[in-house]
């Protein structure tokens, strides 16, 4: 699994995840996402364009992170188009809670809509 994190603007962070996300690689993703939250990120795009494998362990981390984002006053949106992965989101009924869209651009727009204007400070440390 490969993870790369980039700031899109002051409030949105994109986390690109490639390769295979299973119970072996999941702890790395959890650590990365938790690290982002600790640094104050709360509007997070998870771009799964290059992800080839996903199962319930990965879903659990995504759902858990979405909740943490909301608790911190933000939200999370997952970008994924690969048919077999979209199927996993559908079967598990997690599309809504994860704001599932096709591309990272759509995900950023989705978050923009959700927070309607960027809160001034993006470096708070509310998540203790």
């Amino acid at each position: 699994m490969r993870i790369r994190t980039d700031a899109v603007d002051e409030c949105t962070t994109v986390c690109r995840v490639g390769g295979e996300l299973d119970a072996y690689t999941a702890p790395d993703l959890r650590d990365s996402l938790d690290g982002l939250l600790e640094k104050g990120a709360r509007w997070i795009v998870v771009d799964l364009k290059d992800l080839t494998y996903l199962d319930s362990t990965g879903l659990g981390i995504l759902v858990g992170t979405a909740k943490k984002c909301r608790q911190a006053g933000g939200d999370l949106s997952v970008a994924c188009q690969r048919r077999n992965l979209v199927r996993i989101f559908e079967i598990s009924g997690t599309q809504e809670i994860l704001n599932l869209v096709a591309t990272a651009e759509e995900a950023a727009t989705r978050l923009q809509e959700l927070h309607e204007g960027c809160p001034e400070d993006a470096s708070g440390e509310e998540a203790t």
């Binding site: 299973d22 858990g64 996993i88």
Partner: protein, 144 residues
């Protein structure tokens, strides 16, 4: 025993997350030979990994998993269908408990495993009881 024209492939793995990859690769290889489509195989890989992840997470008391804590995978390739049995000799559980605690998987960070196995295969069955290990039996038939 395998029926006529059926081939059995057995894979025994340590109950550790790093070998989920091997379970998926074996499923892919046998799935191809059984005539499953690429999409069928992607589905079955998830179902098999869910069953194996359950062994890793639930079958054994946490104490390292180095010794006898193993996952048994038995793949039976027929014409246009693949039967997978995932078995452990762990602590087992009462499948009735699953029905009672029918909490949606979305509420916690778990509970999706069996749901995915059911949806991603054509036939699905769990055999387990406290103290006597667990066996999950799944059949995937080739679409098309």
């Amino acid at each position: 025993m395998a029926g006529k024209g059926e081939h059995v492939i057995e894979v025994t793995l340590p109950s550790r997350p790093e070998y989920l990859l091997v379970a998926r690769l074996a499923t892919s290889g046998v799935g191809l030979r059984a005539g499953l489509t690429v999409d069928d195989i992607e589905d079955l890989k998830v179902a098999v990994a869910e069953a194996c992840t359950n062994v890793i997470n639930h079958a054994f008391k946490k104490d390292g998993g180095s010794g006898g804590q193993r996952i048994q995978l038995r793949l039976t390739a027929g014409k246009g269908e693949l039967t997978v049995e995932v078995e452990d000799e762990g602590q087992g559980f009462d499948p009735e408990d699953l029905k009672k605690s029918q909490r949606s998987g979305l509420e916690g960070e778990g509970g999706l495993g069996f749901g995915l196995m059911k949806e991603l295969t054509d036939t699905f069955r769990v055999e387990s009881a406290p103290g006597s290990g667990t066996r999950v039996i799944m059949v995937k038939r080739a679409t098309r």
